[in-house]
Subunit: 112 residues, 4 copies
C-alpha cells in the first residue's frame, strides 16, 4: 500500500463513520476544495509578499490539509491514481512549457 | 523515499528547469490553487449533481492534478510532511465532528 | 449623481476614514472579491438546489453585499463606469451567445 | 427607475431571450460569481502589486462586469434592493470596524 492509499483509507474511514459519502458528490467536493482554497488565500489578504511569508505556518498547514483531504476524496471517488495523474500532468506541462521558451518568465503557455 | 517526496522531487525539477521558484511565493501558490479549483468547479457549472457525475473524467483529472501540484509545491516550500499534516487534520476533525453528533448530517461543527 | 456614484461615495468615505486605501491595490481587491464569493458559496455547500433556495436570505444578502462592495471599490480605483461596462458586456455576450444557438442550453460559447 | 433596476432589466432580457432562468438557481449563480472572480484574479497571478496595476484595464473591466452581472442576477432572484443591502452592510461595518481601532490596520474585526 502506498502513501496515498494509506491517507485515502484514513479519510474514507473518517467519512464513512459519519455516513457522509451521501454528500460527497463530485460537484460538492470540488466546491469544498475551492472554499478551503479561499480560506488559505484569506491568510494572505492585504499582506505583501514578505508579510505573507511571515504568516503562522500552523494556519497554512491546516488550510492546505483541508484542500488535500477533499482533493484525495475526489480522486478516490473517481479511482484516480494520484501519482499517475500528477506525473501525466508534469509530462504534459513539459510540452506546453518548453524550457527554452518559458525559462524565467511567468507567461501563460498561450502567450509564450 | 516515499510517494510524496518522489512527486515533489519531480515538481521541483520541472520548476527549477524553468527558473520559476522566484514566482512561487506562498501568496501566489495559494492563489494558483484557488484558480485551478475554480477551473475544476467550472466543469460542473449549470449542471445538476447527476449531470456532474457524467463530466469527462479526463478533464477532472487535469484540474485535480493542477490543484495537487501547486499544493505539493506550497507544502515543499514550508517543509510540510504531507502525510503528517493530513493525519493531524483527521485527528482534529475527529474531535471537532464527534461521530454521534455528526452522523448523517452535513452541518458545520459550530452548528452541531 | 447616479446610484452607483452614491454607493461608491459611501464606500470611499468608509475606506478613507480608516486610511485603508493603502491596502486596496487591484490585486488585493480582486482577492477580497473571491474570498467573499467563497463565503457566499459556503452557504450552499453540501446542499441540493432545493435546499439552497431555503438558505437564510439575510446571509445571502450579507455575502452579496461584500462582493458588491469590493467590486465597486475596484471599479472606482480604475474609474470604470459600472453602467457602461455592464452594458458593453451584455452587448458582447449578445454576439457571443446568439439567441438561436444558445436558447435553452447552458453550453459555453466555444461549444455552441 | 434607478440605475440598478435598469441594468437588471437588461440582464433579465438577455437571460430570458435564451431561456436561461432554468439554470439560474442561487447555488449556480453563486458558483458563477466565484468562477468569474477567479478569472479576475488570474490576471494578477505571479505578478507583483506594481505589475498588477499595469494589467490591461480592458481585461479587468470584462471580468468585473461578469462578476457584477451574476451578482445583480442573484440579487434580482431574491428581490434584493442593491442600494439598500450595500448601505446596510456599510452601516454594520461601521460598528464592526470602529475608526479609532481600525485606522491604518488591515486586521480583521475579531483581531482588533
Amino acid at each position: 500500500m502506498n502513501d496515498f492509499d494509506e491517507l485515502i483509507r484514513e479519510l474514507v474511514k473518517f467519512r464513512d463513520a459519519r455516513n457522509w459519502e451521501q454528500f460527497h458528490n463530485s460537484r460538492d467536493l470540488a466546491l469544498a476544495i475551492s472554499i478551503e482554497a479561499a480560506e488559505l488565500n484569506e491568510l494572505f489578504l492585504w499582506k505583501s509578499v514578505e508579510e505573507s511569508e511571515a504568516v503562522d505556518k500552523s494556519k497554512i498547514k491546516e488550510e492546505l490539509a483541508d484542500i488535500l483531504a477533499f482533493s484525495l476524496l475526489l480522486a478516490q471517488k473517481h479511482d484516480f491514481d494520484i501519482k499517475e495523474i500528477l506525473l501525466e500532468k508534469i509530462h504534459k506541462n513539459n510540452q506546453k512549457y518548453p524550457v527554452e521558451k518559458s525559462k524565467g518568465t511567468a507567461k501563460k503557455y498561450n502567450e509564450l
